[in-house]
C-alpha cells in the first residue's frame, strides 16, 4: 500500500452572504508524488467540505480557470504540485488584486470587459475574398506575434502586477499583450484604432516595468515585453502627431 502522507492546507474562505471578511480554514489532505493543488482541492470538496468553491476545468493549464495564490505566488492550481512546495502547510488564497466573490473565486468581469475593449480581432490591412484562400503569412511573420497569442487569460499576470493592484484602471499586462498580438500580426491594419488605448494613462504608461508578470506567466507570453516595447511605439506616435497632423487617427 502506498504511504499515506498528509499535508495541512489553509484556505482563505469568504461567503458574500455570511461573512464580514475572509478567514482562514484548515484541512488535512492525503497526497502522493503527483498530487496537484487542484486535485487536493477537489479532494476537500468531494470528501470533506462541499462548500469550498473554486473554478477549474481542463486540468492541463490551457483553460486558464484555476489561477490562485499558492504560498503567496500566483499559480495555476492544476500544474502546481504538492511535491514541489516546501513546508508542511500550504496557504491558498484567491488571486491577488481582484475582489473576492467567494472563497477562491474572484471577479473576472472587468478583465473580460477590458479584453473586449481593445478590438481583439483582426482588422484586415487589405480585404480578401474567401475564394482567394488564406492570407499569406510566412513562419517568420507568424513568429513576430505567435508568442503573444498563447495567452490563456488566466490573469496570473494581473495578480503579479503591483501597478494593477494599486490602480485597477490599468489596462494591464494580459490585455495589452493581446493588443500587441494583433498590432504585430502582418495581416492586421488596425494599429491606429488601438493606439488610443496604448497611449492612455491607463495604457502602457501605468506600467513601471516591474517585470513580475512575465515571471509568473504559465505560457511564457512575456506580457512585460509586449507592454514595454509599446512605450517606444507610443512615444513615437505622440511625436508624429506634431510632425504629421494627418497621422491623427479618425
Amino acid at each position: 500500500m502506498v504511504d499515506q502522507r498528509t499535508i495541512r492546507m489553509q484556505v482563505l474562505r469568504y461567503h458574500p452572504q455570511r461573512d464580514e471578511r475572509p478567514a482562514w480554514q484548515s484541512y488535512t489532505v492525503p497526497f502522493t508524488d503527483d498530487t496537484s493543488i487542484l486535485q487536493a482541492l477537489l479532494y476537500i470538496k468531494d470528501e470533506i467540505d462541499g462548500t469550498l468553491s473554486f473554478r477549474w476545468s481542463c486540468r492541463m493549464a490551457i483553460c486558464g480557470s484555476c489561477g490562485m495564490m499558492i504560498n503567496g505566488k500566483p499559480r495555476l492550481a492544476c500544474e502546481t504540485f504538492l511535491r514541489d512546495l516546501a513546508a508542511d502547510a500550504v496557504r491558498i488564497e484567491a488571486l491577488a488584486h481582484f475582489p473576492i466573490e467567494r472563497d477562491l473565486i474572484v471577479s473576472v468581469g472587468e478583465f473580460v470587459a477590458k479584453l473586449e475593449s481593445i478590438k481583439p480581432y483582426l482588422i484586415p490591412k487589405e480585404p480578401r475574398a474567401l475564394a482567394a484562400g488564406e492570407y499569406l503569412q510566412t513562419p517568420a511573420q507568424l513568429a513576430r506575434y505567435e508568442q503573444f497569442s498563447t495567452c490563456i487569460n488566466c490573469m496570473l499576470c494581473y495578480a503579479a502586477c503591483p501597478e494593477y493592484g494599486l490602480n485597477t484602471d490599468f489596462t494591464g499586462p494580459g490585455v495589452l499583450a493581446l493588443l500587441h498580438r494583433y498590432n504585430a500580426d502582418s495581416r492586421d491594419g488596425g494599429r491606429a484604432e488601438r493606439m488610443p488605448i496604448v497611449n492612455a494613462e491607463e495604457g502602457v504608461w501605468s506600467c513601471m516595468a516591474v517585470g513580475y508578470c512575465s515571471e509568473v506567466c504559465p505560457k511564457q507570453v512575456d506580457p512585460a515585453h509586449a507592454v514595454n516595447q509599446n512605450k517606444a511605439i507610443s512615444a513615437g506616435d505622440y511625436f508624429l502627431h506634431f510632425l504629421k497632423p494627418k497621422h491623427r487617427p479618425p
Partner: protein, 136 residues
C-alpha cells in the same frame, strides 16, 4: 435552509504592505530606490562643479571633503547602488526593445542583457584609463 439569492458582495483586499509580500517586489523597490542614489551622486557632482567655479581653494576644499572616511563610505554605498541600478536596468532592457532577429534567429534576452553589461564594463575601463592617463 438556503439563503435567498442575493446581490454579490465582492470583498476587496488591502494593498497595504504589498511590497513586503514577495521577494520579487522587495527587489523591485530596491531597484527603484537606487534612483535616490543616482540623485544623491548627481548632487555631489553638482556641488563639485559649483566649487570648481568658485576657484582653486574651494575646489581643493571639496576634494578634501571627499577624502573623509564618511565621504568614502558614502561613495562606496552610492557605487554599489549604481551598479545594482545598472544591472537591474539591463535586466529589464530587453523588454523595452522590439524582438531583434539576426539571420532568422531571435536575439535572446540574455544576450541583450549581457551586451549591456559588456558595454558598461568596457566604457568604465575606458574612462578609468582616460582618468589615469590625465591625472596630474
Amino acid at each position: 435552509m438556503s439563503d435567498a439569492a442575493g446581490a454579490r458582495r465582492p470583498y476587496v483586499r488591502s494593498m497595504r504592505g504589498w511590497w513586503r509580500r514577495d521577494p520579487f517586489f522587495a527587489r523591485y523597490m530596491l531597484r527603484e530606490a537606487t534612483s535616490v542614489a543616482v540623485l544623491a551622486y548627481a548632487l555631489v557632482l553638482t556641488v563639485g562643479l559649483v566649487r570648481l567655479a568658485q576657484g582653486e581653494a574651494a575646489w581643493n576644499g571639496w576634494l578634501a571633503a571627499l577624502r573623509s572616511p564618511w565621504a568614502v563610505l558614502l561613495h562606496l554605498l552610492l557605487f554599489a547602488a549604481m551598479v545594482f541600478h545598472a544591472l537591474s536596468w539591463f535586466e529589464i532592457m530587453p523588454k523595452t526593445l522590439p524582438a531583434i532577429f539576426i539571420g532568422g534567429r531571435r536575439l535572446s534576452a540574455a544576450t541583450i542583457t549581457r551586451s549591456g553589461w559588456a558595454a558598461t564594463v568596457l566604457a568604465s575601463i575606458a574612462l578609468c584609463a582616460l582618468a589615469w592617463w590625465w591625472r596630474s
